[in-house]
Symmetry: C2
Subunit: 265 residues, 2 copies
Amino acid sequence: MNILVSNDDGIQAAGVRCLAAALAQIGGHQVTVVCPDRERSATGHALTLHKPLRLEPVREGFPPEVQAWACSGTPSDCVKLGLDGLLQHRPDWVISGINQGANLGTDVLYSGTVSAAMEGLLEGIPSLAVSLASFTHQDFQPAAQVVLTLLEKLSLKPLEKPMLLNVNVPPLGLAEIRGMVLARLAWRKYTDLYEKRVDPRGKAYYWLAGEVVEEEVDPCSDVRAVAEGYVSITPLQPDLTAYAAFDSLQQWGLSAFGSGLEGAL
Amino acid sequence: MNILVSNDDGIQAAGVRCLAAALAQIGGHQVTVVCPDRERSATGHALTLHKPLRLEPVREGFPPEVQAWACSGTPSDCVKLGLDGLLQHRPDWVISGINQGANLGTDVLYSGTVSAAMEGLLEGIPSLAVSLASFTHQDFQPAAQVVLTLLEKLSLKPLEKPMLLNVNVPPLGLAEIRGMVLARLAWRKYTDLYEKRVDPRGKAYYWLAGEVVEEEVDPCSDVRAVAEGYVSITPLQPDLTAYAAFDSLQQWGLSAFGSGLEGAL
């Protein structure tokens, strides 16, 4: 298999190095890594349009059979450039991660990790976004093992069509993880508090300091699954259309385009 | 009404100035503008976590009754900071735009304009993302008039619950616009070509140069509606869960969390 790996924590991050090493160990995989040259968390789907991108080969920290590159762009840039500018053949998988920190619920909108994997799906390539649900827990081995297990199962029994699976692994040893489950994204709310401070020159500045509010967590959600010790797996798609609102907007007075009633409003 | 305005083209952009002036003209609205201090197109939902944010008041180019601020962050930062750090009262609307250039189909994933409006919806505030579907057409007046018309209709007959409406206005005079229609997001594909070039120092660089592929455009989509001279209106939501894939993943072997069958895989 031909695998393109990226992340948003940057090429120096322990998570992507652990993932690349695990994928290379299995053998038979051609692993290419293209990661941002520095941390690019919370960059969402940002793309670099107005500046050129650079690619630098990176040897240190990766097995010799892995081709690794540091890219001056965002996670989305890395995958786009990897697919178009670097790889001779379309990869079988795009895998983004292993991220240090969860990517759960509506937070995936902000996630560079998920955005990198979404670039794969937008090109019709099956993709995984993999996150270790802790900012401090340093052992990425169980999450890497989850990826290998998933890839093995998926190669034995492929999915009907390309999907992006968002995978969050609880910060536990392999033996303590209770299994993999299908879960939907939670709606995450934050207190969104900005701290207003004054700099040494007497000028005000603001720093985002919000905390997640975990009240009333949806019992079928990814947030809850990970909190209970499961690996949560959520299929994601790129269409933000709120189809559920169509009826209500038609009653309100808008005609659906293509219905023959266009322009009533 | 209390309206928070943002954009991704930056505080200097003609589109946001035209919008702010139109909103202020109506009277009775308290309009606060918080925009990036420079162009921030294609930044997606990027958030600034690791740096402080600055706010500077801007007078020039806005009517005296409009409070306008330039923010050092992304469009999402602008709305978050506007809501939490600046406004004393929760606004009735968050309006993002008027963007120079369309935000149609799956492209909305990359759109700073849409992301700013999504921040409003995530806080439960009705929001509009408004784009003029041309990179060159400079007359924002018809699009501003569309916003005023929509706001008037929505205040006379409010929607059942807060929504984010993504509004794309064709680059036509008001009399030529054929009406407003409800349309779903198209799946936009690009050729995604990176041009590889060599800099004056002999080093390679890459520049994104892809063009949109408009073959087989969904006849009920926003792309088609705008191409035919309609204002397209698409309700958007923040949940990327691919619910349609749940059945197929359960058949594949994953148990749904909350079903009592957890951990079968």
